[in-house]
Assembly symmetry: C2
Homo-oligomer: 266 residues x 2
């Protein structure tokens, strides 16, 4: 047993979908979340820069006494996970491996699609993780750079979003994928539009839910779960002014957020 909080971070607000999944699955765990909103987004930035930013934010979380770090950002997982696992003296969970495992589990005919930011797709992290489990599958990967701005603008459906998604998903439809990994923590908010274009026969893998399941396994395996019976607290911090984050948080978190603090990192 260990009552210390779980540390979760993302480049911005998207990682709150992981927090939402964690709170649903592990209601007794306290969570400290950091969004690096002063430097968001990380998706288009270089591996070195993302590694530096992720290291700084994770270091701050460790300084707060967290018992485990969840990298709730696909780009940071793709670029920085090995580096964080080497440098931190506690379990570090990324979003890529759980998503890849779920994709292979749900796939029936050997065609898997992956969508994400430019950085995540260029890194090839999902391809590597999927091929390590299922070397023979065909993978169709596509960067969808406009999805994050569309979600942050609040345009979760409507003609524009449908047109953009139709264009981005065409290569996946051409290759008849039967599973699509939502390789960005913003994308679960687009599920209805994506399902409308891909059809109900295609499984959508929500890496937020898979990562929460993986976190539960790691806590159990390490014997560091929170004492039973309590209700975990949620503390949120950002690196820029909190207004926009506070306004948008409920959409990602599924519950209202009363307070966000600003911290100086980097």
């Amino acid at each position: 047993m260990n009552a210390a909080p779980i540390g979760v971070f993302d480049s911005g607000i998207g990682g709150l979908t992981v927090v939402h999944a964690l709170r649903a699955r592990l209601p007794g765990e306290s969570i400290i979340y950091v969004g690096d909103t002063a430097r968001v987004p990380w998706g288009p930035k270089s591996p070195d820069t993302v590694r530096r930013y992720a290291g700084e934010i994770a270091g701050w979380l460790v300084g707060q006494g967290v018992k485990v770090v969840v990298v709730a950002c696909n780009t940071a997982t793709a670029h920085a996970l090995p580096h964080l696992r080497e440098s931190l003296r506690l379990p570090v969970i990324g979003v890529v491996e759980p998503g890849a495992r779920a994709a292979v589990r749900e796939d029936h005919d050997g065609h898997i699609g992956v969508i994400g930011t430019a950085g995540t797709i260029a890194s090839g992290a999902y391809e590597r993780a999927i091929r390590a489990l299922a070397p023979a599958v065909t993978i169709t990967a596509r960067a969808c750079p406009l999805f994050v701005p569309l979600v942050e603008e609040g345009w979760l459906d409507g003609e524009v979003t449908r047109l953009v998604a139709t264009r981005y998903l065409q290569p996946l439809r051409d290759d008849h994928v039967d599973v699509v990994v939502l390789g960005c923590t913003h994308y679960p908010l687009l599920k209805p539009v994506l399902r409308g274009i891909l059809g109900v026969g295609v499984a959508l893998i929500d890496s937020a839910e898979e990562t929460a399941a993986e976190t539960a396994r790691v806590l159990r395996a390490s014997g560091i779960e929170a004492p039973p019976g309590g209700r975990g607290e949620l503390r949120c911090a950002v690196t820029d002014a909190p207004d926009a984050f506070l306004r948008q948080a409920v959409r990602f978190l599924g519950e209202p957020l009363e307070r966000v603090e600003t911290i100086a990192v980097g």
Copy 2:
């Protein structure tokens, strides 16, 4: 006379439209350009954070011996211009005043539209600058957060961009503006789409061109123009890896760019 370079900076790549205009108007001037690509975009970030980033980048330029600093970014001009003018010991030119002056000059029936990033529009900088010159005009301002991602994705026309622009520009059409200020250095690349929606009767103010004209005036007034007859050099630096910047630069600059260096700032 002064052969020292002009310093120009932006949060990313958009400021190259200002460099393009400067090189067309002042071919003898050398230019050092910095894009803060490790922290781009500045548009959605808080005034304090933008002020800090702009101060760091401008400080680097001053260290390189520039004779004047051009803030080729509407968000930075809106939030940081007075601060930069106080702290730097050389002329500092922003993009807002020249754009506001041109808008008032082109306006005939007292209805001016302004479009820009969330930060620029929320700052009210254009409204203040326009009202200082023409207190009685009606101003319709609209943030267009998807325009920058659309330009960076290279979707400069087509159905999606037309739909997004139609939605954003509706309030300006409802108010029958006869002038629209393109209050973001990315927006000149969308001119054909914007003109198609607004009609040829609406004047589009390109703040890049107006800022180049203002820079020429300041150099002349201060007697610090480059010696005549030479051909100015262009040096470009970014704060993240240069690949994506190099690939996209020609679209904004109108000439190919052979080399971009990476600098450590912030």
